[in-house]
């Protein structure tokens, strides 16, 4: 199959569009969830969608996406309320409340799944694709539903941008200026449930949490501004969604959800390692640079002190002595200083080690640093 065929394939178009929609909505709404430290609530909401899917099916009696997603949204919301109620009304802590809500709702879903199986009918097989996602099962009509939910969610984010931002970063201040904080927090949680619902067909209930978390975490590494983070998370979500969905649609028998999650995870790993400023590699490099600069300054200062004690501005210092004095090799530092024109190799007796002498620029620089240090100490 050549590229043109590939791109004009009807199923693939559906899959790619579905994945793109999913990526955008989970990236944008996930950003708020991650920043508000509600990542695992997303996990509970996605597992809790299972009983809703089954209920939707049982009520309508067919695999109709509208009913199924409504059911999923309802039980997801109920799970969120359960978490809230357990933490507010009982002595249980958040982690236990999330775990209880997740596992008990999922158990209910498993029970309902067997109820549907017990009733027979070929259509029941379709429900199991909601566990791990089946991109190829997406229809053009489904895209309209997913798209409408996404548009509604994005519109809400744009309208209430300022409020959501404030509640995310400083809920106490938001409260004092009279914003309805509880209402806004509930709205943000419901929106996570919306993202979960949009992703159910592609990623499935078990892994949808990862799609809420991963793009947002990856985006966070690259920027400090919420605006940029949200947009970047949407793009990362889209990229991983499309990658995973296309691989799954072309290779037979691979579940879509795990592929999308692995694609998103790969982006997270890359972001954590290589992002500028926050990246692990960036930080390691910065540390090396800093250590080098520090060693250069230390050696320069030692040379200055030696010229002072010997009252000789061109006192040649032996490298071995510098090594011993500093407790580590100084050749690399001296060569870097030489490259900057601060020191020169000095002539020495045969059989002795290398000697170094400060240049005029080196002396000036060392004096300047020395003044800086004693200035700071005063």
């Amino acid at each position: 199959m050549n590229l043109i065929d590939f791109l004009s394939d009807y199923t693939l178009q559906n899959v790619a569009m579905g994945a793109a929609i999913l990526g955008v909505v989970s990236g944008v709404l996930g950003s708020f969830a991650v920043l508000r430290r509600q990542s695992l609530v997303g996990d509970a909401l996605s597992h809790a969608a299972l009983p809703g899917i089954c209920l939707g099916f049982l009520v309508v009696g067919a695999r109709e996406l509208g009913a199924i997603l409504t059911g999923a949204l309802a039980t997801g919301g109920l799970a969120a309320l359960t978490i809230l109620a357990l933490t507010r009304l009982s002595r249980l802590k958040t982690d236990a409340a999330i775990g209880i809500s997740l596992s008990v709702f999922f158990a209910l879903g498993v029970v309902l799944l067997t109820v549907i199986q017990g009733r027979g009918g070929a259509s029941q097989a379709g429900l199991e694709t909601f566990l791990f996602g089946q991109a190829a099962a997406i229809l053009r009509g489904d895209l309209w539903i997913m798209g409408a939910i996404t548009l509604a969610a994005l519109a809400a984010v744009m309208i209430f941008w300022k409020e959501f931002k404030l509640v995310t970063f400083d809920p106490v201040f938001a409260q004092t200026i009279g914003l309805p904080v509880t209402l806004l927090e509930i709205a943000l949680t419901v929106m996570v449930a919306l993202a979960v619902v949009v992703g159910l067909q592609m990623v499935g209930v078990v892994l949808m949490a990862a799609m809420v978390i991963a793009p947002a975490v990856a985006a966070r590494q690259w920027t400090r501004r919420l605006e940029h983070m949200v947009i970047l998370a949407a793009l990362i979500g889209m990229a991983s969604g499309i990658t995973g969905a296309l691989i799954s649609a072309t290779a037979r028998g691979l579940a879509t959800g795990p592929l999308i999650v692995l694609a998103a995870s790969a982006i997270v790993v890359v972001s954590i390692l290589f992002a500028p400023e926050r990246g692990v590699l960036w930080e390691a490099l910065a540390r090396v640079r800093e250590r080098r600069a520090l060693r250069g300054r230390q050696v320069l200062d030692t040379l200055l002190q030696l010229t002072r004690t010997h009252a000789d501005p061109s006192y040649p210092a032996e490298q071995g002595m510098l090594d011993t004095y500093h407790g580590h090799e100084t050749r690399a530092a001296l060569e870097r200083l030489a490259a900057r024109g601060f020191v020169n190799p000095a002539r020495h007796m045969p059989g002795e080690g290398d000697h170094w002498v400060l240049t005029r620029e080196g002396l000036a620089e060392a004096e300047r640093l020395d003044a800086e240090i004693s200035g700071a100490n005063r």
Binding site: R91, G109, F132, V261
Partner: protein
Amino acid sequence: MQALFDNPALMIVATGLLVGTAAALIGPFLVLRQNAMLSDAISHSIVFGIVTVWLLTGIASGPVQIAGAALTGVLTVFLTEALARSGRVKDDAAIGLVFPMLFSAGVLLLNLYARDVHIDAHAVLLGEIGFVWLDTIEVAGYQMPQALVWMGAMTLVNAAFVTLFWKELKLATFDPVLAQAFGLRPRLLFYALLFLTSGTAVAAFDAVGAILFIAFVIVPPATAYLLTDRLVTMVLIGIGVAAVSSIAGYFLAVAWDVSIGGMMALMTGVCLVLACLFGPRYGLVAGLQRRARQALENEARALVVHLATHERTEDRAEENVATAMRTHLGWTNERARQVLLRGLDHGLVLREGEMLRLTDKGRAEAEALLQPWLYEAGRPVT
């Protein structure tokens, strides 16, 4: 004897009981340390371990598989902690990043290499506790279900660990800093606990699957936490809740012809709701009753103070009568009746026709309230 092991119903319930007991031995420490969600991470990511061990060695049960696959659980926790400690990702997001990655890898490996084995994607989620009695192994001359044998072994290991390190676990749970200062290595202990959690998850995998296991780890101990303040009692109640859930879950599932594992997990949820509502000390109903009783007590105090202030005044005939409780204190008829009954029951007030008169006890209580500096714990200071 063999007849016992050939009885499917008994074997299923016994397996459920063992899963519940093994999980309830460990769960309390996770719940108390506020690490309950680590069980979520572990139970998902052992799927990767189970598949990897199976692909590498062809072993799908037994101690090697349990220990090998359990390493993935520990790896998950280790990666999560490393990620959180790097400061780039908050700890909750770190959990939510690591386990989906390992779980996805596990599911994909299943899709690729293991289409025909019993660990298919369906079993990953739901478990097959209804069929545990089919897969047997010979132990001491008897044919026993594999799941039962390995769950039994895991339960014994957990029980031994918790009993041997009881003091250390207790201290490390409630005061990790002090435990560290005593040289008890709380982190090592914690990792050992998580290793056992992972092993239990692996052993329980065939029976209840990856996700329902979370219910067995978290919900019974959480239920127990609502009922008691003592760690021993908490562990024991947790085991009791797990047992009740397994048995009730089995019979309900058979009656309604639904998933047995799912029903058992759901029953733990029912127990939790009951404890939440009707727990003697922390239950919602008990809390409401306590608040109502306190409100009544407060109003009884208001009544004695009211009577005491007007006792020697001229408007006594107008103030110290039953109707004044409605007109002056603003209570409804019903409320006034309750308060008055309480006052009479506790010997604070006497009724003489329409007049209400304080007893000595009632007068003392009113004075203790009006001049608290003369009293200490309700008794006059001498």
